[in-house]
Symmetry: C2
Subunit: 291 residues, 2 copies
């Protein structure tokens, strides 16, 4: 499958940005590398590259932005795992950053990764031909807005934890915490691939729908998934009376919506035929995954 090839491309691209020189902040750099190379799925940078590829076989232009978004994603994971927020000890089967290093290092590694993303963007802009600048400034602006939404979503999620929440609140958290960044990835790929405004609308719709599908599938797996495959207990949402798609629409209802949303996501890709094959597979993968 093409997924592995994309994952390898992203990882080798990220490696170019690792800082391994001897310096007083060496351990900070090591801790950033630890999280960045911990074996994530690379879904976000892959979305950037795969979307760009629909419009332009040469995806070099979007690579710094794919790298930057993976840095931001990892910054958010490191900070979410901190004792002051989710207090998680493991991620991807390895100790979380603050467990492997310490809390101060994890806070600063997260800070530095967020900032490094903007260093990468500014470096790319400094090396860009003038005619590309308006496009890249648009991307930079959307990038910073999406990260702002992600942090706001994480805040609301944290604030409402353990409380009974409404469907509106659930959707707000999801739309901001996860949706904004996924949408950004697809939009960056499309913009940097020189898509038309109509293409941009279609692909933004696609991104919104796979983001929503991702959330619905999570809710379904939390209800009827295999505990061994998922690696976490099943049925907790019901016990906690959490508001989910399953609690709102029933198990079959949620599955029907997921099926509908996935079809709608794929429909957005119709005009691109073969070229959007990978994005289609990605939508089906989100619907059918068992973890």
């Amino acid at each position: 499958m093409e997924l592995k090839k994309y994952q390898q491309q992203v990882t080798s691209e990220l490696e170019k940005y690792l800082r391994r020189q001897k310096c007083p902040e060496e351990i900070l750099n090591t801790s950033m590398e630890y999280s960045l190379m911990a074996g994530g799925k690379r879904l976000r940078p892959i979305l950037v590259i795969a979307t760009c590829k629909i419009f332009n076989e040469n995806t070099d232009k979007c690579l710094p932005y794919a790298v930057a978004i993976e840095m931001v994603h990892n910054f958010s994971l490191i900070h979410d795992d901190l004792p002051g927020i989710d207090n998680d000890d493991f991620r991807h089967g390895k100790p979380t950053n603050h467990k492997q290093f310490n809390e101060a290092t994890a806070i600063l590694a997260g800070d530095s990764l967020l900032n490094y993303a903007y260093m990468v963007i500014s470096q790319d802009m400094a090396n860009s031909p003038k005619e590309e600048l308006p496009q890249k400034i648009k991307v930079f602006y959307e990038f910073s807005k999406a990260v702002d939404r992600m942090i706001a979503g994480e805040y609301v999620d944290t604030e409402l934890e353990g409380k009974k929440i409404t469907e509106n609140e659930l959707q707000y958290i999801h739309k901001n915490k996860t949706g904004a960044l996924l949408e950004l990835c697809v939009r960056m790929g499309a913009i940097l691939g020189n898509s038309s405004p109509e293409d941009l609308v279609r692909l933004t719709n696609y991104a919104e729908k796979i983001g929503l599908a991702f959330q619905i599938k999570d809710d379904i797996l939390s209800e009827e998934g295999d505990e061994k495959v998922l690696g976490k207990p099943v049925g907790n949402d019901k016990k906690l009376e959490k508001c989910t798609y399953v609690s709102q629409y029933g198990l079959q209802g949620a599955k029907d919506i997921l099926d509908q949303i996935t079809k709608e996501a794929i429909k957005q890709l119709n005009p691109y035929g073969e070229k959007a094959e990978f994005l289609k597979e990605l939508a089906l993968y989100i619907q059918n995954r068992n973890k």
Copy 2:
């Protein structure tokens, strides 16, 4: 003195960016405002504006960058104060962000302020005439590099806390943790004021020296300042056996170096006469401040 006028200008400029609308992340916004409006000296944004003014009476162009640097400065204060780093309860005589709100809020408020700085920059770039873009991209690039250095400096400072450190290490910490950002402020002002390359060199020298002076004065105040005026406890550096200019050179030695460095800073401003009067006063203010 002009300082108050500048401070008021910066504060009213910052107010334009406060987010006070009703929304689920309202408390996050309140906590960002709490730190941003806690009564800081506004030294960094003032440096940007005052330097720009040497070369151009109209300083509008540099205002978004002055705002952005104050956001970054406050992000770094919030995170440095966290229990996982310096564990400070008070700043400017008020509870620190995590004491006033909670740890999760403080982590995310810091993240959001850092990111907001880049939102402000990207927004300004999106609204800039094309001919200004190369200059602003240069500023954006230098901005991200300076923040990177600041975080690295904070990391080294944290890592070496309580250990006996060498003079080289002490200087590395200052140069990165405090110096990089102050230098950036002056350089941004000069670049956005359309200074010549020679001017940029001179003003960078000025910035380096006041950065060093700032740190030395901080060390002196930490040793012999007035707790009530400073709004934080005095004598902690000694208790923690922190390596400072005072521990290295003694109180009088540190004061002599401070005097020398301040004179050298002011010398850089000679070519600008009256126009650099405020920057001269600022160097003297840094030397003589009591908080």
